[in-house]
Protein backbone atom coordinates (compact mmCIF):
# COMPACT_ATOMS: atom_id res chain seq x y z
CA UNK A 1 0.00 0.00 0.00
CA UNK A 2 2.70 2.39 1.11
CA UNK A 3 4.88 1.38 -1.83
CA UNK A 4 2.01 1.75 -4.26
CA UNK A 5 1.43 5.32 -3.05
CA UNK A 6 5.14 6.06 -3.42
CA UNK A 7 5.07 4.65 -6.95
CA UNK A 8 2.11 6.86 -7.79
CA UNK A 9 3.95 9.93 -6.46
CA UNK A 10 6.96 9.04 -8.57
CA UNK A 11 4.75 8.68 -11.63
CA UNK A 12 3.37 12.18 -11.10
CA UNK A 13 6.87 13.61 -10.74
CA UNK A 14 8.02 11.73 -13.85
CA UNK A 15 5.13 13.17 -15.85
CA UNK A 16 6.14 16.67 -14.76
CA UNK A 17 9.74 16.03 -15.78
CA UNK A 18 8.52 14.66 -19.09
CA UNK A 19 6.45 17.79 -19.61
CA UNK A 20 9.57 19.91 -19.18
CA UNK A 21 11.48 17.64 -21.56
CA UNK A 22 8.78 18.20 -24.18
CA UNK A 23 8.50 21.94 -23.62
CA UNK A 24 12.18 22.63 -23.89
CA UNK A 25 12.89 25.35 -24.94
CA UNK A 26 16.66 24.83 -25.08
CA UNK A 27 18.45 21.55 -25.43
CA UNK A 28 19.91 21.99 -21.94
CA UNK A 29 16.42 22.13 -20.44
CA UNK A 30 15.72 18.82 -22.07
CA UNK A 31 18.94 17.27 -20.81
CA UNK A 32 18.16 18.52 -17.32
CA UNK A 33 14.65 17.09 -17.48
CA UNK A 34 15.88 13.75 -18.77
CA UNK A 35 18.54 13.57 -16.08
CA UNK A 36 15.94 14.29 -13.44
CA UNK A 37 13.65 11.71 -15.03
CA UNK A 38 16.48 9.19 -14.75
CA UNK A 39 16.89 9.89 -11.04
CA UNK A 40 13.21 9.20 -10.54
CA UNK A 41 13.49 6.04 -12.60
CA UNK A 42 16.20 4.76 -10.26
CA UNK A 43 13.94 5.37 -7.27
CA UNK A 44 11.05 3.77 -9.13
CA UNK A 45 13.06 0.61 -9.83
CA UNK A 46 14.05 0.44 -6.15
CA UNK A 47 10.44 0.79 -5.02
CA UNK A 48 9.25 -1.76 -7.55
CA UNK A 49 11.81 -4.17 -6.13
CA UNK A 50 10.05 -3.92 -2.79
CA UNK A 51 6.61 -3.98 -4.36
CA UNK A 52 7.39 -7.16 -6.26
CA UNK A 53 9.31 -8.68 -3.36
CA UNK A 54 12.44 -9.04 -5.46
CA UNK A 55 15.39 -7.32 -3.81
CA UNK A 56 17.58 -8.17 -6.84
CA UNK A 57 16.13 -5.04 -8.40
CA UNK A 58 18.62 -2.97 -6.38
CA UNK A 59 21.39 -4.07 -8.74
CA UNK A 60 19.40 -2.79 -11.67
CA UNK A 61 18.71 0.48 -9.88
CA UNK A 62 22.41 0.98 -9.19
CA UNK A 63 23.19 0.18 -12.80
CA UNK A 64 20.58 2.62 -14.04
CA UNK A 65 22.02 5.38 -11.86
CA UNK A 66 25.39 4.69 -13.41
CA UNK A 67 24.17 4.69 -16.99
CA UNK A 68 22.17 7.84 -16.34
CA UNK A 69 25.28 9.66 -15.18
CA UNK A 70 27.50 8.52 -18.03
CA UNK A 71 24.74 9.14 -20.54
CA UNK A 72 24.27 12.71 -19.37
CA UNK A 73 27.98 13.37 -19.58
CA UNK A 74 28.11 11.89 -23.07
CA UNK A 75 25.16 13.92 -24.35
CA UNK A 76 26.57 17.12 -22.87
CA UNK A 77 29.96 16.51 -24.37
CA UNK A 78 28.37 15.91 -27.72
CA UNK A 79 26.29 19.08 -27.62
CA UNK A 80 29.17 21.13 -26.36
CA UNK A 81 31.85 20.05 -28.78
CA UNK A 82 29.91 18.19 -31.45
CA UNK A 83 32.36 15.36 -31.17
CA UNK A 84 33.16 12.68 -28.63
CA UNK A 85 36.85 12.36 -29.21
CA UNK A 86 38.02 15.75 -28.06
CA UNK A 87 41.05 15.44 -25.81
CA UNK A 88 40.40 16.34 -22.21
CA UNK A 89 43.75 16.30 -20.50
CA UNK A 90 45.48 13.60 -18.52
CA UNK A 91 43.90 12.23 -15.36
CA UNK A 92 46.94 12.84 -13.18
CA UNK A 93 46.66 15.53 -10.54
CA UNK A 94 48.46 18.50 -12.06
CA UNK A 95 48.36 17.35 -15.66
CA UNK A 96 45.01 18.85 -16.65
CA UNK A 97 44.98 21.32 -19.45
Amino acid sequence: MMFAAATAALCVAMLLALLRACLGPTVYDRVLAVNSFGTKTVLMIAVLGFLAGRPDFMDIALLYALINFVGTIAVLKFFRYGDMARPGGRPAAKGGD
Partner: protein
Protein backbone atom coordinates in the same frame (compact mmCIF):
# COMPACT_ATOMS: atom_id res chain seq x y z
CA UNK B 1 49.93 3.41 -0.61
CA UNK B 2 46.86 4.76 -2.36
CA UNK B 3 46.65 1.60 -4.44
CA UNK B 4 46.49 -0.55 -1.31
CA UNK B 5 43.83 1.60 0.29
CA UNK B 6 41.83 1.63 -2.95
CA UNK B 7 42.07 -2.15 -3.03
CA UNK B 8 40.76 -2.41 0.53
CA UNK B 9 37.90 0.00 -0.20
CA UNK B 10 37.01 -1.95 -3.31
CA UNK B 11 37.01 -5.20 -1.37
CA UNK B 12 34.71 -3.72 1.27
CA UNK B 13 32.39 -2.61 -1.54
CA UNK B 14 32.54 -6.12 -2.98
CA UNK B 15 31.52 -7.60 0.35
CA UNK B 16 28.59 -5.18 0.52
CA UNK B 17 27.50 -6.04 -2.99
CA UNK B 18 28.11 -9.74 -3.09
CA UNK B 19 26.09 -11.42 -0.34
CA UNK B 20 27.65 -14.80 -1.15
CA UNK B 21 30.45 -15.57 1.26
CA UNK B 22 31.77 -18.91 0.09
CA UNK B 23 35.53 -19.27 -0.33
CA UNK B 24 35.16 -19.30 -4.11
CA UNK B 25 33.39 -15.94 -4.17
CA UNK B 26 35.77 -14.39 -1.67
CA UNK B 27 38.55 -15.49 -3.97
CA UNK B 28 36.75 -14.02 -6.99
CA UNK B 29 36.35 -10.81 -5.02
CA UNK B 30 40.05 -10.58 -4.30
CA UNK B 31 40.76 -11.37 -7.94
CA UNK B 32 38.32 -8.69 -9.16
CA UNK B 33 39.81 -6.07 -6.85
CA UNK B 34 43.28 -6.96 -8.09
CA UNK B 35 42.15 -6.63 -11.72
CA UNK B 36 40.51 -3.28 -11.03
CA UNK B 37 43.57 -1.93 -9.19
CA UNK B 38 45.82 -2.98 -12.08
CA UNK B 39 43.55 -1.27 -14.64
CA UNK B 40 43.27 1.81 -12.42
CA UNK B 41 47.04 2.02 -12.09
CA UNK B 42 47.33 1.77 -15.85
CA UNK B 43 44.73 4.52 -16.24
CA UNK B 44 46.62 6.67 -13.70
CA UNK B 45 43.42 7.29 -11.77
CA UNK B 46 44.86 6.51 -8.35
CA UNK B 47 46.34 9.45 -6.51
CA UNK B 48 45.59 11.58 -3.50
CA UNK B 49 42.88 13.41 -5.42
CA UNK B 50 40.78 10.48 -6.45
CA UNK B 51 41.33 8.55 -3.28
CA UNK B 52 41.73 11.06 -0.47
CA UNK B 53 42.92 8.88 2.40
CA UNK B 54 44.23 11.96 4.16
CA UNK B 55 40.68 13.28 4.48
CA UNK B 56 39.05 10.15 5.83
CA UNK B 57 39.19 11.36 9.44
CA UNK B 58 37.62 14.75 8.87
CA UNK B 59 35.09 13.94 6.14
CA UNK B 60 32.30 12.33 8.25
CA UNK B 61 31.95 15.40 10.44
CA UNK B 62 31.81 17.61 7.37
CA UNK B 63 29.16 15.40 5.79
CA UNK B 64 26.98 15.69 8.88
CA UNK B 65 27.18 19.46 8.73
CA UNK B 66 26.55 19.41 4.97
CA UNK B 67 23.53 17.15 5.47
CA UNK B 68 22.02 19.64 7.87
CA UNK B 69 22.65 22.49 5.42
CA UNK B 70 21.09 20.47 2.59
CA UNK B 71 17.92 19.86 4.58
CA UNK B 72 17.57 23.53 5.52
CA UNK B 73 18.25 24.72 1.98
CA UNK B 74 15.79 22.22 0.55
CA UNK B 75 13.01 23.45 2.77
CA UNK B 76 13.76 27.02 1.77
CA UNK B 77 13.79 26.26 -1.96
CA UNK B 78 10.63 24.15 -1.77
CA UNK B 79 8.87 27.05 -0.06
CA UNK B 80 9.97 29.37 -2.84
CA UNK B 81 8.81 26.98 -5.53
CA UNK B 82 5.43 26.62 -3.87
CA UNK B 83 4.76 30.20 -2.89
CA UNK B 84 2.80 32.19 -5.46
CA UNK B 85 4.18 35.46 -6.72
CA UNK B 86 7.68 36.78 -6.77
CA UNK B 87 9.52 34.51 -4.42
CA UNK B 88 12.67 34.10 -6.45
CA UNK B 89 15.34 36.53 -7.48
CA UNK B 90 18.07 34.71 -9.41
CA UNK B 91 21.52 36.23 -9.50
CA UNK B 92 24.98 35.27 -10.65
CA UNK B 93 28.00 36.16 -8.59
CA UNK B 94 31.53 35.04 -7.84
CA UNK B 95 32.94 33.72 -4.61
CA UNK B 96 36.56 33.14 -3.80
CA UNK B 97 37.58 29.57 -3.10
CA UNK B 98 40.11 29.67 -0.30
CA UNK B 99 41.37 26.12 -0.92
CA UNK B 100 44.83 25.85 -2.37
CA UNK B 101 44.46 22.40 -3.93
CA UNK B 102 42.15 21.28 -6.71
CA UNK B 103 40.49 18.59 -4.63
CA UNK B 104 39.41 21.19 -2.09
CA UNK B 105 37.91 23.29 -4.85
CA UNK B 106 36.03 20.32 -6.22
CA UNK B 107 34.63 19.49 -2.77
CA UNK B 108 33.62 23.11 -2.33
CA UNK B 109 32.01 23.35 -5.75
CA UNK B 110 30.10 20.12 -5.33
CA UNK B 111 28.95 21.07 -1.84
CA UNK B 112 27.59 24.31 -3.25
CA UNK B 113 25.73 22.46 -5.98
CA UNK B 114 24.39 19.87 -3.54
CA UNK B 115 22.83 22.62 -1.47
CA UNK B 116 19.74 23.59 -3.45
CA UNK B 117 19.42 27.29 -4.03
CA UNK B 118 22.98 27.60 -5.21
CA UNK B 119 24.63 25.96 -8.20
CA UNK B 120 28.25 26.26 -9.26
CA UNK B 121 28.20 27.09 -12.94
CA UNK B 122 31.87 27.71 -13.58
CA UNK B 123 35.28 27.42 -12.00
CA UNK B 124 37.65 30.18 -13.00
CA UNK B 125 40.98 29.47 -11.33
CA UNK B 126 40.41 30.66 -7.76
CA UNK B 127 36.89 31.98 -8.27
CA UNK B 128 33.70 29.99 -8.39
CA UNK B 129 30.83 31.42 -10.41
CA UNK B 130 27.58 30.73 -8.59
CA UNK B 131 23.98 30.95 -9.67
CA UNK B 132 21.73 31.56 -6.67
CA UNK B 133 17.96 31.34 -6.62
CA UNK B 134 17.35 33.98 -3.97
CA UNK B 135 19.07 36.47 -1.70
CA UNK B 136 18.83 34.11 1.26
CA UNK B 137 20.89 31.42 -0.43
CA UNK B 138 23.28 34.06 -1.71
CA UNK B 139 23.82 35.54 1.73
CA UNK B 140 24.29 32.09 3.22
CA UNK B 141 27.08 31.37 0.82
CA UNK B 142 28.71 34.76 1.02
CA UNK B 143 28.98 34.44 4.78
CA UNK B 144 31.80 32.05 3.87
CA UNK B 145 31.14 29.38 6.44
CA UNK B 146 31.18 26.56 3.92
CA UNK B 147 34.42 27.87 2.44
CA UNK B 148 35.99 27.90 5.89
CA UNK B 149 34.88 24.38 6.65
CA UNK B 150 36.14 22.94 3.35
CA UNK B 151 39.46 24.72 3.81
CA UNK B 152 39.74 23.32 7.32
CA UNK B 153 39.07 19.89 5.87
CA UNK B 154 42.21 20.08 3.77
CA UNK B 155 44.38 21.66 6.44
CA UNK B 156 43.37 19.39 9.27
CA UNK B 157 45.05 16.37 7.75
Amino acid sequence: MHAISLGLTLFATWLLLSGVYTPLFIFLGVLSCAIVVVIALRMEVIDRESHPVHLSMSLPGYWLWLGKEIVLANIDVTKRILSPGQAINPSVFRVKAGQDDELGKVIYANSITLTPGTVTIDIDDDDLVIHALSETSRDDLESGEMDRRVTALGDGA
